[in-house]
């Protein structure tokens, strides 16, 4: 089976500025690919090229084996960060408008309307809580049963249970055979993805499962009577110290160096595997 989306050696320049550098990226049916990166890493530019909103400077973008076009857009569902709903239309009017734009049969399939939003059918979108708006945006993106789903920061501002329910919807689409490309700033959500692609400075700096990307990277955990004293000493020693509950963590450091910086301060010092976020920093700073 050919990938649903394939970027091969894609570069995008805006004037002198290179936003995306020689990027390869595939999304296969049934998988959720997480696209991670800091602001300016090139994630949004990649999404715009997949949507067919902008072209490439070099390399090729293929959707379903073809260049992006209106025909490929029809097979694609997209939830932008801003949700892309019309505030002064009702929930049902939004869904009907979108269904009509995708050229389906008149009306909205009843199965495409989750129970959680049915009661809001006649309410103006702008008057509904953000959580409900987000469900509507998802329903709208899924109504035409897209083969590829593109989600830009889908769970920003959502509580944990709401987030679990949204990920259930996303995973459901993937298990039904759709491919999903999702951007997030939150490493906790990366565990929901089948595969991750990390971008920095326009280039792909790592790809694979979270475990593969973390590899053997380590951090040091320090538990001291007074975390603030430990923080101060480690900081004075120039170590990259961060707060962790009632202790501190020093990513990428060796426990001997941490012990030396702490001096006579009584503390428990322990080597632990790095978190994905800590590994992310190593990668981004090294690039």
């Amino acid at each position: 089976m050919s990938p649903l989306a394939r970027l091969t050696g894609v570069t995008k320049k805006f004037g002198e500025f290179t936003a995306v550098k020689d990027v390869d990226l595939n999304v296969e049916p049934g998988e959720i690919v997480g696209l991670l990166g800091a602001n300016g890493a090139g994630k949004t530019t990649v999404i715009k090229m997949l949507l067919g909103l902008i072209g490439t400077t070099a390399g090729t973008v293929e959707l379903f084996g073809q260049p992006p076009s209106r025909q490929t857009r029809r097979r694609l569902g997209y939830v932008p960060q801003s949700l892309g709903l019309y505030d002064d239309l009702t929930t049902m009017e939004n869904l009907e408008f979108s269904a009509a734009a995708f050229g389906g049969k008149p009306g909205v399939k009843d199965t495409a309307i989750p129970d959680a939003i049915k009661q809001y059918g006649k309410d103006l979108i702008g008057a509904l809580p953000l959580g409900v708006q987000r469900r509507v945006a998802f329903a709208q993106a899924l109504e035409h049963e897209p083969d590829l789903l593109i989600l830009d920061e889908p769970t920003s501002g959502v509580d944990p249970l709401g987030r679990a329910r949204l990920w259930e919807t996303i995973a459901g689409a993937a298990q039904a055979g759709a491919g999903v490309l999702v951007t997030t700033h939150y490493m906790e959500e990366a565990s929901e993805c089948s595969r991750l692609v990390i971008m920095a400075g326009g280039a792909v700096v790592a790809a694979g499962t979270a475990q593969e990307i973390i590899g053997t990277s380590q951090a040091v955990v320090v538990l001291a009577q007074s975390w603030a004293d430990a923080f101060g000493r480690l900081e004075d020693a120039g170590l990259p110290v961060s707060l962790a509950g009632r202790g501190v963590r020093v990513p990428g450091a060796r426990s001997e160096d941490v012990q030396r910086a702490l001096g006579d301060l009584p503390a428990v010092v322990q080597d632990v595997p790095a978190t994905l976020e800590e590994r992310f920093f190593e990668l981004v700073q090294g690039s």
Binding site: P160, L161, A164, S194
Partner: protein, 280 residues
């Protein structure tokens, strides 16, 4: 002296935004207020900062000039440069200019903002603007620092700079209260208050909230994540007590005493939300 609030109630018309909420903010600690949109986080923080009066209940807070507050709107002037914003803040708090500039310079350096000193705040990225807002709030060395979602929508690199500033404020002895929608951030804090529709859903240290979770959890492979094969997956367990997390189905059994894995803060808070959903 511990700052905080006792039994606060705030109403907007018929809506109860904050419903009998208490929180402690000890000096030298970071306290997280967690919840989704509309949970009551901002209202609670406004009360703590003295920007809003509660209907009933009491707020324990230091004198006005010893409170630093970052509203969710970022709290900086877009038409002033980074330096002008900080100078203006220093003047407002009657700080000695040279001492304030010295402090500001160190924070700017650590937050990676030194090179942006002469840029207009309105032209900074969202993450940089948040860091400037936190630095401005920290500048008068407040005893209580109240930060409304300083990291929402901020990319991981800026977030790391923000967390350095937050830890620094606490290390200097300040009581920090911050709102976030993310539990991995709350886990970095000494204590956590989880709000839902204005009510306290859970409160305590991360370990206490986990220990207080009623019942136990089981898990089953849900497939599709972390490289696992979709074929190995099991169907979604019935009912609203199941949810998906990290390629697993998690199922909460309120009556069980032992589960098949150790829950974390996210699991415990999800269970509290489900328990509330089931009750209502």
């Amino acid at each position: 002296m511990s700052w905080g609030a006792d039994d606060l109630v705030v109403r907007y018309g018929k809506t109860v935004a904050v419903d009998h909420v208490s929180v402690d903010a000890p000096a030298g600690q970071v306290t997280a207020v967690v919840g989704g949109d509309g949970a009551g986080k901002s209202t609670l923080l406004r009360c703590l900062a003295g920007a809003q009066a509660p209907l009933t209940g009491t707020v324990r807070r230091p004198a006005k000039e010893a409170v630093g507050y970052l509203p969710s709107s970022s709290g900086v002037y877009p038409d002033l440069t980074v330096t002008e914003n900080l100078d203006f803040r220093a003047t407002g708090y009657r700080l000695a200019r040279s001492a304030a500039r010295e402090r500001a310079a160190e924070y700017l350096e650590q937050a990676g903002l030194t090179e942006a000193s002469d840029r207009l705040a309105g032209q900074l990225s969202g993450g940089m603007r948040c860091k400037l807002g936190v630095i401005a709030a920290m500048l008068p060395k407040p005893q209580l620092l109240v930060l409304d979602e300083p990291t929402t929508g901020v990319d991981p690199v800026s977030r790391s700079g923000l967390w350095w500033l937050i830890a620094r404020a606490a290390a200097e002895g300040c009581a920090v209260v911050l709102a976030t929608t993310y539990l991995d951030e709350a886990e970095r804090c000494a204590s956590v208050l989880v709000l839902d529709e204005g009510k306290v859903l859970a409160t305590g240290t991360s370990d206490e909230i986990i220990a207080a979770m009623p019942g136990a959890l089981r898990s089953a492979n849900a497939g599709g994540s972390g490289g696992s094969s979709p074929r190995a997956s099991t169907a979604r367990p019935e009912g609203s007590r199941a949810w998906r997390r990290g390629g697993q189905w998690r199922v909460w059994d309120p009556d069980a005493t032992a589960g098949d894995f150790q829950p974390d803060l996210t699991d415990a808070v999800t269970v509290a939300a489900i328990a509330k959903e089931v009750r209502s």
